[in-house]
């Protein structure tokens, strides 16, 4: 049996299994890149706009930490890359990790590899095929990005280099995912480790880029960005990516040879033999299941909010440097503009919180469809208590998340502007979003009560709210349609004054939806098949 026996049929099998999964990832990343590309290109179509961009956004340390080293900020190409590389890089890395783990560790978790292992397959065929699939997908993303740049009339060489740098990061994280899949004993752990490496790579290059130090060269993400498209146009940093990837593959093969099927190189720690006092009721269980996710969301939202808040500085600079703008707004112009910016930031954070609220509320459905609800409802727990206990955790988590978003934004603004009162002001303002956030979750609960198979439809509402908030004016969505998003009814705090009317109305609709969900849940069959 040769070392590669069985790779080809496995490859075909994986591609067939992924015939929807991979196109969604690849086209999704390329489409988002292309959409922002053409939007940005339309925005900066004059030398003046480009110059303003270079002196404000690209000069802000916060923005550099977020997006990467500013190269060629004096031309539109540099701005395009500066604006689009973050989503493309993170997207391709996530895709690679999820794909490789999905076909290796997760398959082992499900016990399907044993089945294949007993047929004629060489020992490393599975991981080889999975690596090929993920690498292929990464190359396709790179190609798609390159074509998008060509379509936007960018030169061939730069388009190809940029596409290659994106693909390179995907290939690197294919290697990281493959090695992590050998190290950890379960898919979740493998994904956790890989995302940890991604976060580290991101953080290291952020610090390096802001300080303009060599630290960026320690990060695989740094290699992809140091090609310096439009300014340095060098290919050789991608050689580092290739070397690193090669090392990861060698490590993968070595680790795989040393471990047993179904286990990892690292064995999981033993846990408690008995339940602690907190794990004793519906709320305790729900809290236990969600606390990790909530913590992750809070960290993410606070980081995002702090970043958004720190941009206030560059907005003030922009107004100060631009006499035309100052004239239009006269006195206090900067503050008005910053307030408008804060209103948009709060709105985005609110929609982010809706994402948490929905996923938290839909935990009820995943508990049910996984079959874990049945044994719980077969104890002294009534349907009503279970329902209420879960929603309590969702409610508390959502409030915590909304407040931490407002607090993060406010604190960061207060620090950059030297106005301590802003911290409190923005925290209070963020509470205005609570009724809309909870309403979206309540729609999910209503679906759960009556048509549990269709709960995922509520995500369309979250996406719709996002599109309306972010692109509503750009796409000229008519007001009647935009009003379907609960967020459209909120006053744009802190620019506009708070009025009780819409808040009360949204809260009432929320309560009605929850009551409807409660009713449906009490009348229907419960269980994995429902």
């Amino acid at each position: 049996m040769t070392a590669l026996a069985g790779v080809r049929p496995l490859l075909r099998f994986m591609l067939r299994r992924d015939r929807v999964y991979l196109p969604v990832w690849v086209l999704g990343i390329v489409a988002v890149t292309y959409a922002s590309l053409s939007a940005v290109r339309g925005l900066y179509d004059t030398p003046r706009a480009i110059a303003a961009y270079a002196s404000t956004v690209a000069a802000s340390p916060a923005s550099i930490a977020l997006a990467g080293p500013p190269f060629a900020m004096d031309q539109i190409g540099g701005i395009l890359i500066y604006e689009t590389s973050l989503t493309a890089l993170l997207g391709v890395a996530l895709m690679a990790v999820f794909t490789v783990v999905r076909h290796t560790r997760r398959e082992e978790d499900a016990g399907r590899v044993e089945l294949l292992g007993s047929t004629v397959v060489s020992p490393h065929a599975m991981i080889t095929a999975a690596v090929l699939v993920a690498s292929l997908a990464s190359l396709l993303v790179g190609l798609g990005v390159a074509v998008s740049f060509l379509v936007e009339q960018q030169p061939l060489e730069q388009s190809l280099l940029y596409g290659a740098s994106i693909a390179a990061l995907g290939v690197v994280f294919t290697g990281v995912g493959a090695a992590a899949a050998q190290l950890m004993s379960h898919g979740r752990g493998a994904i956790g480790v890989s995302l940890g490496v991604l976060a580290l790579a991101y953080g290291v290059r952020a610090i390096g880029d802001v300080g303009e130090s060599r630290l960026s060269w320690l990060s695989p993400m740094g290699w992809s960005q140091q090609v310096g498209v439009y300014e340095l146009d060098r290919w050789w940093p991608l050689g580092l990516s290739a070397l690193f990837t090669g090392g990861m593959f060698v490590l993968t093969v070595v680790l795989e040879s040393r471990r047993d099927l179904g286990s990892g190189v690292l064995t999981p720690r033993a846990g408690p033999a008995a339940a602690g006092p907190l794990l004793s009721g519906v709320v305790g269980l729900s809290w236990r299941l969600q606390r990790g996710a909530l913590l992750g969301w809070v960290v993410g939202v606070v980081a995002m909010a702090a970043l958004l808040g720190s941009f206030s500085e560059s907005i003030e600079d922009m107004v100060a440097e631009n006499p035309a703008l100052s004239d239009v707004f006269a006195a206090g112009a900067a503050e008005t503009l910053v307030d408008a910016y804060m209103a948009i930031s709060l709105l985005l954070l609110g929609i982010g919180a809706a994402g948490f609220a929905v996923s938290s509320a839909l935990r009820m459905r995943s508990e049910e469809s996984s079959g874990r609800l049945e044994p719980v409802l077969a104890t002294g727990v009534s349907r009503g208590r279970w329902f209420a206990g879960n929603l309590l955790v969702t409610l508390v988590g959502t409030v915590v998340l909304v407040v931490s978003g407002g607090l993060g934004l406010g604190l960061s603004y207060a620090v950059t502007s030297g106005l301590p009162a802003k911290a409190w002001e923005l925290t209070r303002a963020s509470l205005v979003y609570l009724p809309a956030v909870l309403l979206v979750a309540a729609v999910g609960v209503l679906l759960f009560g009556w048509v549990p198979r269709l709960v995922a439809v509520v995500w369309a509402l979250v996406a719709f709210a996002f599109v309306v908030a972010w692109l509503g004016e750009l796409l000229e969505i008519p007001a009647r349609v935009a009003d379907l998003s609960p967020f459209s009814h909120l006053p744009a705090v802190p620019t506009e004054a708070v009025t009780a009317g819409p808040l009360v109305l949204l809260s009432l609709v929320t309560l009605v939806a929850l009551a409807g969900g409660w009713l449906g849940f009490h009348r229907r069959d419960v269980g994995a098949g429902a």
Binding site: S185, H186, A275, R372, E374, V376, L377, A378, T379, G529
Partner: protein
């Protein structure tokens, strides 16, 4: 004796699938009741209705003198349930799950918990995501058996257990019976039900087709024998308990009541056996043999 479970005329449909088609079931207090039937016959559906998880289309259901749909939570404090497919929270350890389920039910006997963990050889410190199917089932079993309740509803609780654990399970059910607890044990393994049950009900296509004590159903536990001998077996039909004789190129296949198995062997041995295969009847075979006509008739009637 009063009834712990009493079901009559129970009907449940899922879309066009008729899962239960007028099911009657009576489980007396203090008995171990085997609930037998082939795959998809409606055992789990019945148990889920008994738990108030599914709503019956029609029929009458009484559980511990209550209505399981209306008084679910109150009744559930007095019973313990082991699902057929045990799904657990992957991040929790087995010990945590056992305690959690017991607490939700209203308390746990810690001495008994330790005893059962030992008996089922279960490591409570492992995360449930790393348990095998059998170990997940053990978690559910320990959680149920560690609670001192009146009624145990067990849905194929041993389908993932190895023979040693199966013995431990049978021992535990013996204890339950000695303490006067009621057990409804669903299974499609005839031998298990035979070893444990006071009475059994046999379900097929959503109806109970036979119900009674094992003595009453003794004729069901026939063994099928296919044998080849050097000398002819002309008089096999005279052996008591032998039926359904089929001659087939030198071999003979027949069924024999388990009580009379040694009579058959006494007759065959002097004829010099050259090959012999015997197996207890599968449930499907039983149904086809015992109720074939009735089932066909019932299905035709249902189709009309």
């Amino acid at each position: 004796m009063s009834a712990a479970i009493s079901v009559s005329g129970l009907v449940k449909t899922f879309g066009t699938t008729v899962a239960l088609d007028g099911l009657d079931l009576e489980v007396c207090t203090g008995e171990v009741h085997g609930f037998l039937g082939p795959n998809g016959s409606g055992k789990s559906t019945t148990i889920r209705i008994l738990l108030g998880l599914l709503k019956a289309d029609s029929g009458r259901v009484t559980l511990l003198d209550g209505d399981p749909w209306r008084q679910a939570a109150d009744l559930h404090r007095r019973l313990a349930y082991v699902p057929g497919e045990v799904a657990l929270w992957p991040n929790l350890t087995g010990g945590e799950v056992i305690d959690l389920l017991a607490r939700l039910r209203g308390g746990i006997d810690t001495r008994r918990r330790a005893e059962l963990l030992e008996r089922f050889d279960l490591d409570p410190t492992k995360r449930t995501r790393s348990y095998s199917k059998g170990n997940r089932q053990k978690v559910a079993l320990v959680a149920a058996l560690a609670s001192d309740v009146e009624l145990y509803l067990l849905d194929e609780p041993t389908s993932g257990l190895d023979p040693i654990m199966e013995a431990a399970f049978q021992h535990s059910i013996g204890e339950m019976r000695a303490r006067g607890r009621t057990v409804l044990l669903s299974s499609h393994i005839l031998a298990e039900a035979e070893a444990l049950s006071d009475r059994v009900s046999i379900i097929r296509a959503g109806r109970v087709v036979q119900s009674g004590t094992l003595r009453e159903l003794r004729h069901l536990t026939r063994t099928t024998v296919v044998v080849e001998t050097e000398r002819p077996m002309d008089r096999i039909g005279d052996v008591p308990g032998v039926a359904n004789i089929v001659h087939e190129d030198g071999r003979v296949a027949f069924d024999v009541d388990t009580d009379h198995l040694d009579d058959a062997m006494d007759y065959l041995t002097p004829l010099r056996i050259t090959s012999l295969v015997s197996h207890p009847p599968t449930l499907e075979e039983l149904f086809l043999r015992e109720f074939g006509d009735r089932v066909v008739a019932a299905e035709e009637e249902a189709a009309r």
